[in-house]
Amino acid sequence: MAKITLIEAVTMAMAHELEHDDSVVVFGEDVGPNGGVFRATAGLQERFGKERVFDSPLAESMIAGLAVGMSAQGMKPVGEIQFSGFAYPAFDQLISHAARMRHRTRGRLHCPMVIRAPSGGGIHAPEHHSESMEAIYAHTPGLRVVMPSSPARAYGLLLASIRDPDPVVFLEPKRIYRLVKQEVPDNGEALPLDTCFVLREGDDVTMVTWGAMVHETLKAAEAMAKEGVSCEVIDLATISPIDYETILESVEKTGRLVVVHEAPRSCGVGAEIAAEVAEKAVYSLLAPIQRVTGYDTVMPLFRREMDYLPSTARVVAAVKKTLED
């Protein structure tokens, strides 16, 4: 079996669903002959035809709104927003309709749709190409928000997202689209959307993160291990609704928590996790919960973006802080 990258796993998952479910269509800006600006849909139009995989006019509210309409009529549209920073015009359709259709109609209509978008920074892209806005979706009842951090999880979680009867915002960490290759069998086996993944077990400190930051965090855990500190690294994977059980179990064991994400700190998903754990696990906590996040500033243009993104060094420093006393 060939080893594939995260983005190839995304393509493989879409191909698998296009193959096995006639109601699935893939559409968006440049997803057709061009195969997507990151090549996520490369070859799909050739293989499945223009009626299953097609380019759309340049309009994000339209992409989300068409997906709402199509999915309410029984299709399973997978719409691509070219970069997550261009999803803002789609918010009204996602928040006011995709997330509410089932509730509004008491289940008569619902929206089994997926909106995919490359997310996050670190690729030296122009302005607006590096946003991390998962918290906004996570604050929206009725949506599921998913972000994979490995080829295998990208494949399994995207399958699950496309099959899910409710709307899913699937954010792809573009910085690690091609970072690692992994053997991923194209077996159509989905991964659950209601659990996070323990990537590394440890007893001293729990680290919760997602997307590209998983790799900085694993490196930090590695570095700490050299210093004799054993860190448990959890990939949140499904950012909303959150699987608190796994996180709380881990914190009850370690007594320490560091949350790492690249989105701005204030009202980020890290705040939600820290607040919930501080309330529920208050008696097992041995140190204040640390959040290592992007700053509450605009993501700078790329000459400075690496100073904005949490670094291994910043994560290590936070872990040490939890061990201070």
Partner: protein, 361 residues
Amino acid sequence: MKTVAKFEIGFEQFIDESGKAVQKLPKFAEKPAELIKMYRMMTLTRLFDTRAIALQRTGKLGTYASSLGHEAIHVGIGAAMKEEDALAPMYREYGAQFWRGVKLSEVLLYWGGDERGSDFSGPAHDFAWCVPIATQCLHGAGAAMAFKLRKEKRCAVAVVGDGGTSEGDFYEAINAAGAFQLPIVFVVSNNQWAISVPLKEQTACETLAQKAFAGGFQGVQVDGNDIVAVRDAMEKGLAKARKGDGPTLIEAMTYRLSDHTTADDATRYRGKEEVDAAEKKEPLLRLRQYLMSLGEWDDAREKALIDECKQQVADAVKEYENTPKPSLESMFDYMYAELPEALEEQRAAALAAGETESAHG
């Protein structure tokens, strides 16, 4: 400078405000029975409307959006559509929805603050009322896309107001409908006002029908108080769409005879004269006069119809008033196909808190 493109907008009317046919009527309108069927539904809708406003005034209903004056547009839409077509309404199109099987009591439930009103008896694939202006245009286009991709001979109809045509979603929908050649008819219900904003402040366009040119297809203007003109244009648009020849935009000219909703007071921003003038053109009057001129209608039949409709409305009100409020759990139980674990704790807490009307100091 050489001319590279030319466009025209036409206006259609069959029965004028005095109730006279100004040109040969289309086939469907040659049968008095069919006209009477539509007149009946327009009357029912109007009597329902009057009663709904009364319910709101007496605190038995929430904010309500009246359809007074729009009956020809709404019933005309309903009468032209097939059951399998999908309607993406705004929030006033009761006449179209009643024709399609939505119950009067369901409209009352919706404005009465109960989601169950949107789980209605009309076609299960019809969209619910849509409050965020113009967003429904994209739902209609999406439905049309689904029908086209599945090669079903079905069409979508999206209704939007004059004010709604200023929203980006309206435009993105017509551009997409043109680009994908979708089987959809857009109806712009031009009642001259968007709450307090008159059409001339909404846009510099001479007609709203011409907005279709920005989508690359044809628009037409019709007398929206003439149900024959509305239904005829709808049938042509739907036939074209069903044939695979793409979208149509119909601008139906009417006037909002009521306040915007029961929360509005139109006397603040418009004069009595223009309302009085508009009343002379209202849709029921002219159809009744036309039927009378055919000898197909008289005061006795009118009275019988009104009594019958009032009874139907009264029954609906009773059904509405006898509906207990939705369960507390229902707040949670339709958020996802299956309640996520993360929400179970909140659901339990809500149930524990119980009925809290009173718990708010």
